[in-house]
Protein backbone atom coordinates (compact mmCIF):
# COMPACT_ATOMS: atom_id res chain seq x y z
CA UNK A 1 0.00 0.00 0.00
CA UNK A 2 1.53 3.26 -1.07
CA UNK A 3 2.22 6.07 1.30
CA UNK A 4 -0.35 8.21 -0.44
CA UNK A 5 -3.00 5.58 0.02
CA UNK A 6 -2.14 5.18 3.68
CA UNK A 7 -2.44 8.91 4.22
CA UNK A 8 -5.78 8.99 2.41
CA UNK A 9 -7.14 6.15 4.48
CA UNK A 10 -5.89 7.75 7.64
CA UNK A 11 -7.63 10.98 6.70
CA UNK A 12 -10.87 9.20 6.03
CA UNK A 13 -10.68 7.44 9.39
CA UNK A 14 -10.04 10.71 11.20
CA UNK A 15 -12.90 12.41 9.36
CA UNK A 16 -15.22 9.54 10.17
CA UNK A 17 -14.30 9.80 13.82
CA UNK A 18 -14.96 13.51 13.75
CA UNK A 19 -18.40 13.02 12.33
CA UNK A 20 -18.66 10.43 14.69
CA UNK A 21 -19.90 7.43 15.14
CA UNK A 22 -17.47 4.91 16.41
CA UNK A 23 -19.50 1.78 16.24
CA UNK A 24 -18.46 -0.72 18.82
CA UNK A 25 -20.54 -3.39 17.21
CA UNK A 26 -23.42 -3.82 14.84
CA UNK A 27 -26.43 -1.68 16.05
CA UNK A 28 -24.52 -0.03 18.88
CA UNK A 29 -23.09 3.41 18.29
CA UNK A 30 -21.16 5.62 20.66
CA UNK A 31 -21.00 9.31 19.94
CA UNK A 32 -18.63 11.85 21.47
CA UNK A 33 -20.14 14.51 23.63
CA UNK A 34 -18.70 17.14 21.36
CA UNK A 35 -21.54 16.46 18.92
CA UNK A 36 -24.07 17.88 21.33
CA UNK A 37 -25.29 21.37 20.52
CA UNK A 38 -26.15 23.99 23.08
CA UNK A 39 -29.68 25.31 22.67
CA UNK A 40 -29.05 28.49 24.55
CA UNK A 41 -28.06 29.99 27.82
CA UNK A 42 -30.81 30.61 30.31
CA UNK A 43 -29.83 33.87 31.94
CA UNK A 44 -32.65 33.92 34.43
CA UNK A 45 -30.47 32.17 36.97
CA UNK A 46 -27.64 34.68 36.79
CA UNK A 47 -27.05 36.27 40.18
CA UNK A 48 -24.46 38.69 41.34
CA UNK A 49 -23.95 39.10 45.02
CA UNK A 50 -21.75 41.48 46.86
CA UNK A 51 -20.95 40.27 50.28
CA UNK A 52 -17.82 40.77 52.22
CA UNK A 53 -16.06 41.76 49.06
CA UNK A 54 -17.00 38.47 47.63
CA UNK A 55 -18.49 38.45 44.19
CA UNK A 56 -20.36 35.33 43.11
CA UNK A 57 -21.66 34.96 39.64
CA UNK A 58 -23.86 32.07 38.68
CA UNK A 59 -23.90 31.07 35.07
CA UNK A 60 -27.13 30.03 33.47
CA UNK A 61 -28.28 26.50 33.00
CA UNK A 62 -27.59 24.92 29.66
CA UNK A 63 -29.72 22.64 27.52
CA UNK A 64 -27.91 20.58 24.95
CA UNK A 65 -29.31 18.44 22.16
CA UNK A 66 -27.28 15.43 21.05
CA UNK A 67 -28.09 14.03 17.58
CA UNK A 68 -28.38 10.30 16.90
CA UNK A 69 -27.79 8.91 13.44
CA UNK A 70 -30.87 7.17 12.11
CA UNK A 71 -30.09 3.48 11.72
CA UNK A 72 -33.59 2.38 10.95
CA UNK A 73 -34.69 0.64 14.12
CA UNK A 74 -36.17 0.97 17.54
CA UNK A 75 -33.90 2.27 20.24
CA UNK A 76 -33.21 -0.76 22.38
CA UNK A 77 -31.13 1.17 24.89
CA UNK A 78 -29.49 4.55 25.29
CA UNK A 79 -27.05 5.89 27.84
CA UNK A 80 -25.13 9.07 28.51
CA UNK A 81 -21.81 9.41 30.33
CA UNK A 82 -21.65 12.63 32.29
CA UNK A 83 -19.51 14.15 34.98
CA UNK A 84 -20.77 16.40 37.69
CA UNK A 85 -18.63 18.53 39.93
CA UNK A 86 -21.12 19.35 42.64
CA UNK A 87 -23.51 17.12 44.51
CA UNK A 88 -26.46 19.46 44.02
CA UNK A 89 -25.80 20.10 40.35
CA UNK A 90 -27.52 17.25 38.61
CA UNK A 91 -27.37 16.52 34.91
CA UNK A 92 -30.68 15.30 33.47
CA UNK A 93 -31.27 13.66 30.11
CA UNK A 94 -34.01 12.03 28.06
CA UNK A 95 -34.35 10.42 24.65
CA UNK A 96 -36.89 11.61 22.07
CA UNK A 97 -37.88 10.25 18.69
CA UNK A 98 -39.94 12.19 16.17
CA UNK A 99 -41.40 11.48 12.79
CA UNK A 100 -40.22 13.45 9.80
CA UNK A 101 -43.11 15.92 10.01
CA UNK A 102 -42.52 16.48 13.71
CA UNK A 103 -46.19 15.75 14.34
CA UNK A 104 -45.62 12.59 16.37
CA UNK A 105 -43.06 12.20 19.11
CA UNK A 106 -42.25 9.87 21.95
CA UNK A 107 -39.89 10.51 24.85
CA UNK A 108 -38.41 8.47 27.64
CA UNK A 109 -38.73 9.58 31.25
CA UNK A 110 -36.19 12.16 32.38
CA UNK A 111 -33.22 10.51 34.10
CA UNK A 112 -31.09 12.44 36.58
CA UNK A 113 -27.68 11.90 38.09
CA UNK A 114 -27.46 11.02 41.73
CA UNK A 115 -25.94 13.21 44.40
CA UNK A 116 -22.56 11.57 43.97
CA UNK A 117 -19.86 13.72 42.44
CA UNK A 118 -17.87 12.41 39.53
CA UNK A 119 -18.58 10.42 36.41
CA UNK A 120 -21.96 8.73 36.08
CA UNK A 121 -23.82 6.87 33.39
CA UNK A 122 -27.45 7.73 32.81
CA UNK A 123 -29.44 4.84 31.34
CA UNK A 124 -32.31 6.30 29.39
CA UNK A 125 -34.05 3.03 28.62
CA UNK A 126 -35.66 1.64 25.48
CA UNK A 127 -38.12 3.46 23.27
CA UNK A 128 -40.11 1.06 21.07
CA UNK A 129 -41.24 3.72 18.63
CA UNK A 130 -39.65 3.89 15.25
CA UNK A 131 -39.96 6.36 12.42
CA UNK A 132 -37.96 5.51 9.33
CA UNK A 133 -37.41 9.10 8.26
CA UNK A 134 -37.66 10.72 11.62
CA UNK A 135 -35.14 11.94 14.12
CA UNK A 136 -33.72 10.63 17.35
CA UNK A 137 -32.11 12.98 19.88
CA UNK A 138 -30.94 13.03 23.45
CA UNK A 139 -31.62 16.23 25.33
CA UNK A 140 -29.76 17.06 28.51
CA UNK A 141 -29.79 19.90 30.97
CA UNK A 142 -26.53 21.05 32.48
CA UNK A 143 -27.26 22.93 35.70
CA UNK A 144 -26.12 26.38 36.64
CA UNK A 145 -22.88 26.74 38.52
CA UNK A 146 -20.59 29.37 39.92
CA UNK A 147 -17.85 28.11 37.72
CA UNK A 148 -17.60 27.74 34.00
CA UNK A 149 -19.27 24.40 34.06
CA UNK A 150 -20.86 22.26 36.65
CA UNK A 151 -21.21 19.21 34.48
CA UNK A 152 -19.71 17.67 31.42
CA UNK A 153 -21.19 15.34 28.85
CA UNK A 154 -18.53 12.94 27.65
CA UNK A 155 -20.36 10.57 25.32
CA UNK A 156 -23.65 8.92 24.59
CA UNK A 157 -24.36 5.44 23.31
CA UNK A 158 -27.40 4.18 21.45
CA UNK A 159 -28.32 0.62 20.53
CA UNK A 160 -30.80 0.16 17.72
CA UNK A 161 -32.42 -2.93 16.38
Amino acid sequence: MSKRTRCALGGIIVAGSFFGATAASAGVTTYPGTLCMQLGVDTRDMTTRYSDSQVTTFYGALTVVCPIAQQGGNVLSASVVVKKWFSSANVKCRLTVRNDFQTISASTPLVSTTAAVGTQTLNLGPLPTFFANGTKTITCSIPASMFDNSGELFSYTVSEG
Partner: protein, 220 residues
Protein backbone atom coordinates in the same frame (compact mmCIF):
# COMPACT_ATOMS: atom_id res chain seq x y z
CA UNK B 1 33.01 -118.26 -54.78
CA UNK B 2 34.24 -120.38 -52.15
CA UNK B 3 34.50 -120.09 -48.48
CA UNK B 4 37.91 -119.65 -48.68
CA UNK B 5 37.72 -116.55 -50.66
CA UNK B 6 37.83 -113.74 -48.19
CA UNK B 7 35.61 -110.87 -48.68
CA UNK B 8 37.23 -108.30 -50.69
CA UNK B 9 38.77 -105.79 -48.42
CA UNK B 10 38.10 -103.06 -50.74
CA UNK B 11 34.33 -103.50 -50.35
CA UNK B 12 34.42 -103.17 -46.57
CA UNK B 13 36.43 -100.05 -46.74
CA UNK B 14 34.10 -98.53 -49.24
CA UNK B 15 31.18 -99.09 -46.98
CA UNK B 16 32.93 -97.55 -44.08
CA UNK B 17 34.00 -94.62 -46.14
CA UNK B 18 30.51 -94.22 -47.40
CA UNK B 19 29.16 -94.35 -43.97
CA UNK B 20 31.77 -91.92 -42.79
CA UNK B 21 31.06 -89.64 -45.67
CA UNK B 22 27.40 -89.78 -44.99
CA UNK B 23 27.96 -89.09 -41.42
CA UNK B 24 30.26 -86.30 -42.32
CA UNK B 25 27.69 -84.92 -44.68
CA UNK B 26 24.97 -85.19 -42.18
CA UNK B 27 27.13 -83.64 -39.56
CA UNK B 28 28.13 -80.86 -41.85
CA UNK B 29 24.60 -80.36 -42.83
CA UNK B 30 23.64 -80.32 -39.22
CA UNK B 31 26.33 -77.80 -38.51
CA UNK B 32 25.21 -75.69 -41.37
CA UNK B 33 21.67 -75.87 -40.32
CA UNK B 34 22.54 -75.18 -36.74
CA UNK B 35 24.60 -72.27 -37.83
CA UNK B 36 21.67 -70.87 -39.67
CA UNK B 37 19.60 -71.29 -36.65
CA UNK B 38 22.28 -69.61 -34.65
CA UNK B 39 22.35 -66.83 -37.12
CA UNK B 40 18.67 -66.55 -36.96
CA UNK B 41 18.81 -66.69 -33.21
CA UNK B 42 21.53 -64.17 -33.36
CA UNK B 43 19.36 -61.88 -35.37
CA UNK B 44 16.60 -62.35 -32.97
CA UNK B 45 18.91 -61.69 -30.15
CA UNK B 46 20.08 -58.53 -31.82
CA UNK B 47 16.63 -57.25 -32.52
CA UNK B 48 15.61 -58.23 -29.11
CA UNK B 49 18.57 -56.39 -27.80
CA UNK B 50 17.59 -53.39 -29.89
CA UNK B 51 13.97 -53.61 -28.91
CA UNK B 52 14.85 -55.10 -25.66
CA UNK B 53 14.12 -51.75 -24.03
CA UNK B 54 10.85 -51.69 -25.92
CA UNK B 55 10.07 -55.13 -24.78
CA UNK B 56 11.22 -54.26 -21.34
CA UNK B 57 9.33 -51.00 -21.63
CA UNK B 58 6.29 -52.86 -22.67
CA UNK B 59 6.69 -55.30 -19.90
CA UNK B 60 7.45 -52.50 -17.49
CA UNK B 61 4.52 -50.51 -18.69
CA UNK B 62 2.30 -53.49 -18.24
CA UNK B 63 3.63 -53.92 -14.76
CA UNK B 64 3.04 -50.26 -14.04
CA UNK B 65 -0.46 -50.32 -15.36
CA UNK B 66 -1.09 -53.46 -13.48
CA UNK B 67 0.19 -51.84 -10.34
CA UNK B 68 -1.95 -48.83 -10.92
CA UNK B 69 -4.98 -50.96 -11.52
CA UNK B 70 -4.26 -52.84 -8.38
CA UNK B 71 -3.86 -49.59 -6.50
CA UNK B 72 -7.13 -48.25 -7.87
CA UNK B 73 -8.87 -51.43 -6.97
CA UNK B 74 -7.49 -51.14 -3.48
CA UNK B 75 -8.68 -47.58 -3.21
CA UNK B 76 -12.11 -48.41 -4.46
CA UNK B 77 -12.27 -51.21 -1.98
CA UNK B 78 -11.23 -48.85 0.76
CA UNK B 79 -13.87 -46.32 -0.21
CA UNK B 80 -16.49 -48.98 -0.36
CA UNK B 81 -15.46 -50.05 3.09
CA UNK B 82 -15.72 -46.49 4.38
CA UNK B 83 -19.18 -46.12 2.93
CA UNK B 84 -20.22 -49.38 4.40
CA UNK B 85 -18.84 -48.39 7.79
CA UNK B 86 -20.59 -45.05 7.66
CA UNK B 87 -23.87 -46.65 6.78
CA UNK B 88 -23.41 -49.10 9.56
CA UNK B 89 -22.75 -46.34 12.09
CA UNK B 90 -25.65 -44.27 10.80
CA UNK B 91 -28.00 -47.15 11.18
CA UNK B 92 -26.79 -47.66 14.70
CA UNK B 93 -27.39 -44.01 15.70
CA UNK B 94 -30.72 -42.24 15.78
CA UNK B 95 -31.24 -39.75 12.99
CA UNK B 96 -31.16 -36.22 14.32
CA UNK B 97 -33.14 -33.88 12.16
CA UNK B 98 -31.24 -30.85 10.99
CA UNK B 99 -31.89 -27.86 13.12
CA UNK B 100 -34.47 -25.58 11.69
CA UNK B 101 -32.98 -22.36 10.48
CA UNK B 102 -33.23 -19.55 12.96
CA UNK B 103 -36.21 -17.38 12.19
CA UNK B 104 -35.26 -14.14 10.60
CA UNK B 105 -36.02 -11.28 12.95
CA UNK B 106 -38.71 -9.16 11.42
CA UNK B 107 -37.69 -5.69 10.42
CA UNK B 108 -38.90 -3.02 12.86
CA UNK B 109 -42.23 -1.66 11.81
CA UNK B 110 -42.53 2.06 11.56
CA UNK B 111 -44.87 3.44 14.16
CA UNK B 112 -48.29 4.57 13.01
CA UNK B 113 -49.29 7.60 15.03
CA UNK B 114 -53.02 7.00 14.67
CA UNK B 115 -52.71 3.37 15.63
CA UNK B 116 -50.55 4.18 18.63
CA UNK B 117 -52.97 6.88 19.74
CA UNK B 118 -55.86 4.44 19.53
CA UNK B 119 -53.93 1.83 21.48
CA UNK B 120 -52.98 4.27 24.22
CA UNK B 121 -56.58 5.44 24.32
CA UNK B 122 -57.83 1.88 24.80
CA UNK B 123 -55.23 1.36 27.52
CA UNK B 124 -56.20 4.57 29.25
CA UNK B 125 -59.91 3.72 29.18
CA UNK B 126 -59.23 0.45 30.97
CA UNK B 127 -57.53 2.23 33.89
CA UNK B 128 -59.20 3.45 37.03
CA UNK B 129 -58.18 6.60 38.83
CA UNK B 130 -55.52 6.40 41.53
CA UNK B 131 -56.72 9.09 43.89
CA UNK B 132 -53.39 9.17 45.69
CA UNK B 133 -51.63 10.31 42.56
CA UNK B 134 -53.98 11.29 39.74
CA UNK B 135 -55.40 14.60 41.06
CA UNK B 136 -52.00 16.00 42.05
CA UNK B 137 -50.47 14.95 38.78
CA UNK B 138 -53.27 16.54 36.81
CA UNK B 139 -52.71 19.83 38.66
CA UNK B 140 -48.99 19.66 37.93
CA UNK B 141 -49.69 19.09 34.27
CA UNK B 142 -52.06 22.01 34.09
CA UNK B 143 -49.45 24.26 35.66
CA UNK B 144 -46.93 23.18 33.05
CA UNK B 145 -49.37 23.84 30.22
CA UNK B 146 -50.25 27.25 31.61
CA UNK B 147 -46.55 28.15 31.74
CA UNK B 148 -45.40 26.75 28.44
CA UNK B 149 -48.33 26.85 26.07
CA UNK B 150 -48.78 29.98 24.03
CA UNK B 151 -51.54 32.37 24.71
CA UNK B 152 -54.73 31.19 23.11
CA UNK B 153 -54.10 27.51 23.62
CA UNK B 154 -57.10 25.75 25.16
CA UNK B 155 -57.19 22.57 27.25
CA UNK B 156 -60.06 20.44 26.01
CA UNK B 157 -59.50 17.57 28.44
CA UNK B 158 -56.96 16.67 31.11
CA UNK B 159 -57.25 13.52 33.19
CA UNK B 160 -54.90 11.19 35.03
CA UNK B 161 -55.76 7.65 36.11
CA UNK B 162 -53.60 4.87 37.56
CA UNK B 163 -50.35 5.38 35.68
CA UNK B 164 -51.21 7.59 32.67
CA UNK B 165 -52.45 11.06 31.98
CA UNK B 166 -54.28 12.17 28.83
CA UNK B 167 -54.22 15.75 27.59
CA UNK B 168 -56.21 17.16 24.66
CA UNK B 169 -55.55 20.74 23.53
CA UNK B 170 -56.38 23.18 20.76
CA UNK B 171 -53.83 25.65 19.49
CA UNK B 172 -54.44 28.70 17.38
CA UNK B 173 -51.24 28.47 15.34
CA UNK B 174 -49.08 25.59 14.11
CA UNK B 175 -45.98 27.31 15.48
CA UNK B 176 -47.53 27.24 18.92
CA UNK B 177 -47.92 23.48 18.68
CA UNK B 178 -44.27 23.05 17.75
CA UNK B 179 -43.10 25.21 20.61
CA UNK B 180 -45.21 23.28 23.10
CA UNK B 181 -44.10 19.88 21.87
CA UNK B 182 -40.48 21.05 22.11
CA UNK B 183 -40.97 22.02 25.71
CA UNK B 184 -42.54 18.62 26.43
CA UNK B 185 -39.49 16.90 24.92
CA UNK B 186 -37.06 19.05 26.89
CA UNK B 187 -35.56 18.24 30.30
CA UNK B 188 -38.10 20.61 31.77
CA UNK B 189 -40.77 17.88 31.49
CA UNK B 190 -40.04 14.76 33.49
CA UNK B 191 -42.58 12.19 32.30
CA UNK B 192 -42.38 9.81 29.40
CA UNK B 193 -44.71 11.01 26.67
CA UNK B 194 -46.40 10.20 23.42
CA UNK B 195 -47.57 13.25 21.49
CA UNK B 196 -49.63 13.42 18.33
CA UNK B 197 -50.45 16.80 16.82
CA UNK B 198 -52.08 18.16 13.72
CA UNK B 199 -50.88 21.59 12.62
CA UNK B 200 -53.81 21.90 10.21
CA UNK B 201 -56.47 21.51 12.88
CA UNK B 202 -54.40 22.83 15.78
CA UNK B 203 -55.24 19.77 17.83
CA UNK B 204 -52.80 18.05 20.15
CA UNK B 205 -53.14 14.74 21.98
CA UNK B 206 -50.62 13.74 24.63
CA UNK B 207 -50.26 10.70 26.86
CA UNK B 208 -47.80 10.95 29.72
CA UNK B 209 -46.69 8.29 32.16
CA UNK B 210 -46.22 8.38 35.86
CA UNK B 211 -42.87 10.03 36.81
CA UNK B 212 -39.92 7.66 36.40
CA UNK B 213 -41.93 5.08 34.49
CA UNK B 214 -42.24 4.44 30.76
CA UNK B 215 -45.58 4.51 29.05
CA UNK B 216 -47.39 1.16 29.12
CA UNK B 217 -46.20 -1.35 26.58
CA UNK B 218 -48.70 -1.45 23.73
CA UNK B 219 -47.67 -4.97 22.74
CA UNK B 220 -48.12 -6.32 19.25
Amino acid sequence: MTRSDPLPVKSGRATTLTVLAGALFVGTLALVLHGQEDRRAGKNATSAARSGSALEYGEGRDKQLSSEVQLLRAQVAGLAEQIHERDRVAQAQPVVPAAAPAPIAPEPQEADGDVMASQYDREFETQTSDESWAPAQARSLKAFVDEKAAHGAVIEALECRSNMCRLRMNFAKPADIRAFTSSIASPEFEMATFVKSDPDTGKLLMYSARPGLPLPNLGG
